[in-house]
Symmetry: C2
Subunit: 186 residues, 2 copies
DNA sequence: TTTAAAATTGACTAATCAGTCAGCAAAAGT
DNA sequence: ACTTTTGCTGACTGATTAGTCAATTTTAAA
C-alpha cells in the first residue's frame, strides 16, 4: 500500500475518533507507520490532508455508485438503483461517511469550492431532470428534490445505525423508505 | 448580562467560525470580555463548556417550540404548529443550529447521555403516538417517523440557507414541504 | 558499478494552549 | 467599621503542536 494511502487511512480513523484538531499529525504518522516528515512531504499542511481526504472519499463514493447502479429501461428502477447503491455504500463505509458529515458541518467546508461539493450530486440531478421531463417526477426544482432525497438517505442511515437490525430487516426498512420517497416525489 | 452567558455567547460564535479545537479558551474569554481565569471558574474544563453550550441551546429550542406552538383541536394543525415552530426557531437561530449540527457529528457527542439527546424529541414523539392511536398517522415506529420528519426539517433548512428566498417565498416552500411530509406519514 | 535524484527519516523549534493560583476587589454578614 | 466570603483577575507553566531540515536510505539512470 502506498504511503500516501496509509496516511489517508490513518487520518480517517483518527479524525472520526478524536476530531480534526483533536488528532495531532504525529499520531497520524505513527498510526500510518511513517515518519513525521513524510506526512508533510505528501501533504503540505494538515489542512491540505483534511481536504484531500474529503475529496478522496467523495470520489470513492461516486465511483462506487456509478459502478454499482445499472441503467435500466424503467426510470423508477434506474432511480432505485441509484438510491440503493448510495445507501449501501454509506452502510458499508460508516467511518468514511461519519468523516464526510463531520467535514460538511465544520469550518473546513469553506476550504472547498461549492462546485466540488455539488459534483457528487451530478448523476442524481441529471436523472431527476429526465424524470421531470418525462412527466414521472413532480416538476419541482431539482436541487429541492435532491435535498429531499439526500436528507432522507442521511436520516435513514442514522436510524439504521441506532437500531441494529438484521440484514433482511434492514433491507426491508430501506425498501419501505424507498416507497415512501417515491410516492413523495411522483 | 451574566458573565456565564457572555462566555456561552462568545463560545458559540467562535466555535461555529473556527471549530471546537480551533478556538482557544483565551479567545473565548477575550471575546466575552472576561478574564481567562473566569472562564475556568464558570466551567471546569473546555469540554464542560462545550457540553454546557449544547445543553443550553437544546433547552432554548425546546422552550421556544413549546411556547410557540398552540395546542389545537385538529391533530393536523397541532402537528403543523410544532413543525413550523421548529423550523422558525432554526431559521432565526442559524448559528445555534450550526453549532448543534457540528456538535452532533463530532466526537463530543459521546460526552452526553443518549437520553439527553432524545429529550428534545419528546413532544413530537408523544404527539405522533397519539396520531397513530387515532388512526391519522401511518402505524410506523415512532422513532422512524421522527427520523423522517427531522431529516426533512434539517434538509429544508440547509436548502433555505443556500437559496436566499424572500420571506413570502420562504414561507411557501416551508408550507409546501409540510404538505409533502404530511402526505408521506398519513 | 558509479552517480545522481528522489524519497524518507526523526530530532528539533517556535509557537500555542488548557488550566492554575496567588492576590485583588466587591459584597455580604455581623 | 470590621471581617468573611465570594467572585474575578491575568501573569504564569508544563505540555503539546504543526511544520522544518540536515542527514540517511532507496531508487533510477548512466
Amino acid at each position: 500500500m502506498e504511503k500516501t494511502n496509509k496516511i489517508l487511512d490513518a487520518a480517517l480513523k483518527l479524525f472520526v475518533e478524536y476530531g480534526f484538531h483533536g488528532t495531532p499529525t504525529s499520531k497520524i504518522a505513527q498510526e500510518a507507520g511513517v515518519a513525521n516528515g513524510t506526512l508533510f512531504n505528501k501533504f503540505k499542511t494538515k489542512d491540505d490532508l483534511i481536504v484531500a481526504l474529503f475529496v478522496d472519499i467523495e470520489l470513492r463514493m461516486s465511483k462506487f455508485v456509478e459502478e454499482n447502479s445499472k441503467e435500466t429501461t424503467s426510470f423508477k428502477d434506474t432511480f432505485k438503483e441509484l438510491y440503493f447503491a448510495s445507501l449501501y455504500w454509506i452502510i458499508d463505509n460508516k467511518i468514511e461517511f461519519r468523516f464526510v458529515q463531520q467535514f460538511k458541518t465544520s469550518p473546513f467546508l469553506s476550504l472547498i469550492a461549492p462546485e466540488e461539493i455539488e459534483k457528487a450530486h451530478k448523476p442524481i440531478c441529471e436523472l431527476l431532470q429526465k424524470g421531470i421531463e418525462a412527466g414521472v417526477i413532480k416538476p419541482l426544482p431539482v436541487d429541492y428534490l435532491v435535498m429531499l432525497i439526500s436528507s432522507l438517505i442521511y436520516g435513514l442511515n442514522d436510524y439504521l445505525i441506532k437500531n441494529e437490525f438484521s440484514k433482511p430487516k434492514q433491507h426491508a426498512v430501506i425498501s419501505d423508505t424507498f416507497d415512501l420517497l417515491w410516492d413523495m416525489i411522483t
